[in-house]
Symmetry: C2
C-alpha cells in the first residue's frame, strides 16, 4: 500500500535532505509499505524486487544455494536497508540471496528504477549505498572468519547466545535442522554438538527446543578458536 504523506524518510535515508525536491516527490510517490509474516520469503534468486527499508521486525539474508548448503549471511533490523533485493541496481553483483522475515515485519519497497535515478543524481545517495555495501561486506567477512577459525561447537554456542539475545529469552523454540541452515552445516553435526553441550550441562534439550542452562560457559566456548 502507499505510504502516508508524512512518512519520515529523513530518519531512514541520511541523504534525504540533500535530494532535489522533485526526486523526494518521486521517491515518496513510488515507495510502498509492505508486510511480511514470520518465515515468509520476500526475495529469492535473481529477481530485482527493489530496495527494502525495514520499518519494524527482522529480516534474515542467506545464500541462495539451489543445491547444497545455505548459510545466514546477516540479519537486518528496523532502519536497516536491504540492497541485495535490488541487485540489478549494481551490474557487478553476480550472486543471489534469499531474504525472509524472521518475525512479523513491515518494510518499504523502493522500485529499482527510482533508486537508480536517485543514485545517479546524488553523490550523497551513491555514497550511502557504498556504506551499506561496506557494512554488509564487513558482516560477511566476520562470517568468513568464523568459518575458517572457529570450531563448530563454538559457532553453535555463539548462535544460541545471539538467538537468546534476539528473543529476549533463554528458552529457544528452534529445531536442529534450522540451526544447521543458519550455520551452513548438516543437521547430524548440529545434533551431535548439542548433545555434547547438554552432556556438559551448558544447555538442556527438550522437544522442539533448547534452553540455555549456563550462559557464562556457553559464552566462553563461543570464543574458542580452531585448534
Amino acid at each position: 500500500m502507499p505510504i502516508s504523506a508524512d512518512f519520515p524518510f529523513q530518519e531512514y535515508l541520511p541523504f534525504w535532505d540533500a535530494l532535489p525536491r522533485e526526486l523526494q516527490t518521486e521517491l515518496r510517490a513510488a515507495a510502498q509499505l509492505r508486510h511480511a509474516h514470520t518465515d515468509q520469503v520476500i526475495h529469492t534468486g535473481g529477481r530485482c524486487d527493489g530496495f527494502f527499508i525495514i520499518v519494524s521486525g527482522r529480516l534474515r539474508c542467506r545464500t541462495a544455494a539451489e543445491s547444497g548448503r545455505s548459510i545466514t549471511l546477516f540479519r537486518l533490523f528496523a532502519h536497516d536497508v536491504c540492497l541485495f533485493s535490488a541487485s540489478c541496481i549494481l551490474k557487478s553483483i553476480s550472486f543471489t540471496v534469499t531474504i525472509e522475515a524472521e518475525c512479523d515485519t513491515d518494510y518499504l519497497r523502493i522500485p529499482p528504477a527510482v533508486y537508480r535515478r536517485v543514485s545517479a543524481a546524488s553523490a550523497q545517495a551513491a555514497q550511502f549505498t557504498n556504506e551499506i555495501l561496506a557494512s554488509r561486506f564487513s558482516d560477511v567477512m566476520w562470517l568468513m572468519d568464523q568459518l575458517l577459525n572457529r570450531r563448530m561447537d563454538a559457532r553453535i554456542a555463539g548462535f544460541l547466545i545471539e538467538e537468546a539475545r534476539l528473543c529476549g529469552s533463554d528458552t529457544l523454540h528452534i529445531t536442529h535442522e534450522k540451526i544447521a541452515q543458519h550455520l551452513g552445516s548438516a543437521r547430524e553435526v548440529v545434533t551431535r554438538v548439542l548433545n555434547y553441550l547438554a552432556h556438559e550441562g551448558m544447555i538442556t534439550l527438550f522437544r522442539g527446543g533448547i534452553a540455555i542452562a549456563d550462559s557464562a560457559r556457553l559464552s566462553e566456548l563461543a570464543e574458542d578458536a580452531v585448534p
Copy 2:
C-alpha cells in the same frame, strides 16, 4: 614516483571525463607510481594506505588473521582497483586485509583524502566505487559457496587449474604450505589430498612443486560438491 603527465587515467577510471577539471588536476598531481616485487606485502592491518590502481602485475588480497587461518579472497589484475587498502574511505568497513604482490607489480596510489573528495563531488565516482565493492562482494560470495559446498579435494583441484592458467604452465612451483594459505586450510590436509590426486594419476609431485598430468579429470573433480 610521480606519474607522467600523459598517464591515461580515463582508461582506468570510467568517471574521469565527467570529473571537473580541477579534480582531474588534483588527482593527477597526487597519484604516485609504485613498484612491488614478488611476495612483497604492500598493505596490511588497519592502515589507510590509499586507493590502488594496478597498472601491470598481480595482487593477492587475503584475510588478515592475526591468529588463525587466512584465505585468499580475490586477486587483482591490470586495470583493477583496490579499495580495501583505503578502508578509511568507508567508515562501515570493520575488517582488515593483507595485500601482497604475486609477481612484479606496478600500481598507482591515490591518497585517501583525494579519493574522498572525488567521491563526494561526483555521483559517477561514487557509483564506480559501488560497482567495485559489488564486484569484490561477488568474489567473496563465490568463495563462501566454495567453503560451504565443495569438498577440499575439489577446491584444491580448482586451485591448481586456476594457478596453471595464471602461470601459463602445467608445472607449478608452489609449496603445500602456500596452497593451504590460499585455501584457508591446514598444510597436512593439503598434503593428504595432493597425495591422493597423485595416486589417482591426476598430478605428479616433485620437490618444490606439482605438475598437472590429467587436467580434464582435475577439472571434472573441481566441480564436485559436498556429498
